[in-house]
């Protein structure tokens, strides 16, 4: 057997897959769906694992329907970690009733907020606006309207620092990722792919379709800590702005940044 891969059935119908990835990490995968309730169960599982110091877990990363566990196989043998996780999934998360209780608890613990992101959807910033319009059969204005006329849930933080995966976009906007990713996408690019949307917080490679750009920063660096703008569980909306407003907000950020740097010194 090359790798560990097993299915655990809970609730007599939900199948969760537990599999090892490499020497020091494994992945717990819930059913392939974007669901707020399921996501709350994932976060609950994450919290239970983090709380157990005897497991020597190094890091955990939650996503739409999965939870990555980074551990040290030398301190915690793979088999024993697998057994432990299996037990948690079969007991703590087994109860349909506890799911909704967990959901409420999780929402209460985390101060979920609404974040509104200003976006300039012009041809200059919306590199793929034309392509998205033609591929979906919508007009450019319809694309923008469908993107701004929705409320998104924050499901995962990752890809690059401060990058937050938001879902779900309107059905009409669903497109697969670009067949070859771009090696460089500008900071603040607002993009879509499949049922997701996100802001690229920094210049980076990327394979999503760019609709526009935001002048808003997606994180703050304060006292050597990193604070993302959007946290998992938050709600996000996009608001269209014009070029003038874009430049005004950009300038405010630059001014604030230099001010905070002077204060920090």
């Amino acid at each position: 057997m090359l790798n560990f891969h097993s299915s655990i059935v809970i609730n007599s119908r939900t199948t969760i897959i537990l599999s090892t990835l490499n020497e020091n990490s494994l992945l717990i995968t819930w059913p392939e769906q974007i669901s707020e309730l399921q996501h709350q169960a994932i976060i609950h599982c994450q919290q239970l694992l983090i709380a157990n110091k005897n497991l020597y877990i190094v890091d955990t990363v939650a996503s739409y329907n999965s939870l990555l566990i980074c551990y040290q196989f030398i301190k915690t043998p793979t088999k024993s970690l697998i057994n432990h996780i299996t037990l948690i999934l079969k007991t703590e998360l087994n109860n349909e009733l506890s799911h909704s209780k967990v959901g409420q608890q999780t929402k209460n613990n985390h101060q979920a907020k609404e974040v509104v992101i200003p976006v300039c959807y012009t041809e200059q910033y919306g590199w793929d606006l034309k392509h998205v319009a033609s591929s979906t059969g919508l007009t450019i204005n319809e694309v923008i309207e469908k993107h701004t006329n929705a409320s998104y849930n924050a499901y995962a933080l990752g890809f690059t620092p401060g990058f937050c995966y938001l879902a779900k976009t309107a059905d009409a906007l669903h497109l697969p990722r670009r067949s070859t990713p771009r090696t460089q996408i500008p900071r603040g690019a607002v993009a879509i792919a499949e049922q997701q949307t996100a802001v690229y917080p920094n210049q980076s490679p990327g394979g999503w379709h760019i609709l526009g750009q935001t002048p808003m920063s997606m994180y703050t660096l304060k006292n050597d800590s990193f604070i993302p703008k959007i946290n998992i569980g938050d709600t996000v909306r996009f608001k269209a702005i014009d070029q003038i407003t874009f430049e005004k907000i950009s300038k405010e950020y630059v001014d604030n940044y230099s001010r905070s740097k002077r204060v920090a010194k």
Binding site: L2, N3, F4, H5, S19, T20, L21, N22, E23, N24, S25, L27, T29, E32, I34, V58, D59, T60, V61, A62, S63, Y64, N65, S66, L67, L68, C70, Q72, F73, I74, K75, T78, A156, L157, G158, F159, T160, P161, G162, F163, Y165, P176, R177, S179, T180, P181, T183, R187, A193, E194, Q196, P201, N202, S204, P205, G207, L221, D224, F226, P228
Partner: protein, 336 residues
């Protein structure tokens, strides 16, 4: 009292501070970063009698010159850059004694990519999120970006350890001051593995052992055989975020195109064009592409040192084999 410093006078390639990286910040979207070639980096610290996670200078494609304002032991490991001290050639993988105002110069390496320069006690810059490794380029402020600073000012100084104890400095009997050379027992222990390393890196082909994911296991045997037999080319579109390969298209079925999920260093991604990408130390933390498997940790430092136009083959191995090899690797450097 003057603080001990290493001053970087010039750098034509890339230079950054690296240790073993940020281990617990993946959940914020931070790649672990850290030394690209862990074997060379850890060897440098081991031979210097530093703690294994001591920050060092990682030099990409050599071409760096520096000096110090103190006396210290130091070493260069990794790609051979025909280094000199005061224009006198020195060996790599050998602990030396560097004196105040000595000039250390590295040329461009003919083979390999990364070289590691370290001193007793290492580079003493501030840690961020538990590591002194350079931040992802997108987050770097000018003050922490050595290359940016070199462009503006003339030189960049970095702090070295101030309490260089007798343990890190050799006694006069073992120092050949004229040659700056030191005999260190640890080097003998390590010598065989260095020979092997050097043998490995002379070659332009590498077999990458990987722990397969269901995508691999579900491929028809014919396709698996094809992938194993026909090597891939390492393209020049490769960097510390990912190494892009070119060769036989690997077709991922529709079922394997799933929701974005967390990925780790060594992940072999298959984008729609079927050309594999191996995620390296500065990789993205979440990915949406299908995953063929994960390159074993013990082969990733080898991959890091391969140059564009080298060839790469894939060989599936089991998790247990991978863990055994990694355990041996840890034991060599006496750390967990």
């Amino acid at each position: 009292m003057l603080e001990n410093k290493v001053t970087i006078i010039s750098a034509q390639g890339h230079i950054s501070i690296q240790d073993l990286g940020r281990k617990s910040s993946l959940h914020l979207g931070f790649p672990m970063s850290g030394a690209a070639d862990e074997y060379s980096y850890l060897s440098a610290n081991y031979l210097l009698n530093n703690q294994s996670n001591t920050a060092a200078l990682e030099v990409t494609f050599g071409q760096v010159s520096l000096t110090v304002n103190c006396n210290s032991t130091f070493i260069i490991t990794g790609a051979n850059c025909n280094a000199t001290i005061n224009n006198k050639p020195i060996k790599h993988w050998q602990v030396y004694f560097i004196k105040e105002n000595d000039l250390l110069k590295l040329s461009a390496p003919r083979k390999g990519v990364y070289s590691y320069i370290n001193f007793a006690g290492g580079i003493q810059t501030k840690s961020y999120l538990g590591s002194k490794s350079q931040l992802p380029i997108q987050l770097l402020v000018t003050a922490d970006n050595i290359l940016e600073q070199l462009k503006g000012k003339k030189q960049v100084s970095l702090p070295l350890a101030n309490n260089l104890t007798k343990q890190s400095l050799p006694n006069s009997k073992s120092v050949n001051l004229e040659k700056n050379q030191i005999e260190i027992n640890r080097l003998e222990k390590h010598a065989i593995s260095i020979k092997n390393w050097q043998k490995n890196y002379q070659q332009s082909h590498l077999t990458l052992r990987f722990i397969p994911q269901p995508l691999w296991q579900n491929l028809p045997l014919k396709q698996q055989a094809k992938i194993k037999q026909q090597p891939y080319l390492l393209t020049a579109r490769s960097n510390k975020m990912g190494y892009r390969l070119q060769g036989n298209e690997i077709k991922a079925t529709a079922e394997s195109i799933l929701l974005s999920k967390p990925v780790v260093y060594g992940c072999i991604q298959i984008p729609p064009d079927g050309q594999p990408i191996v995620l390296m130390k500065d990789h993205q933390t979440i990915g949406g592409y299908p995953i063929l498997g994960y390159v074993i940790k013990s082969d990733l430092f080898r991959l890091a040192q391969m140059r564009a136009n080298s060839t790469i083959s894939f060989e599936p191995v089991s998790l247990m084999q991978a863990q055994t090899l990694l355990q041996n690797f840890y034991q060599r450097f006496e750390f967990t």
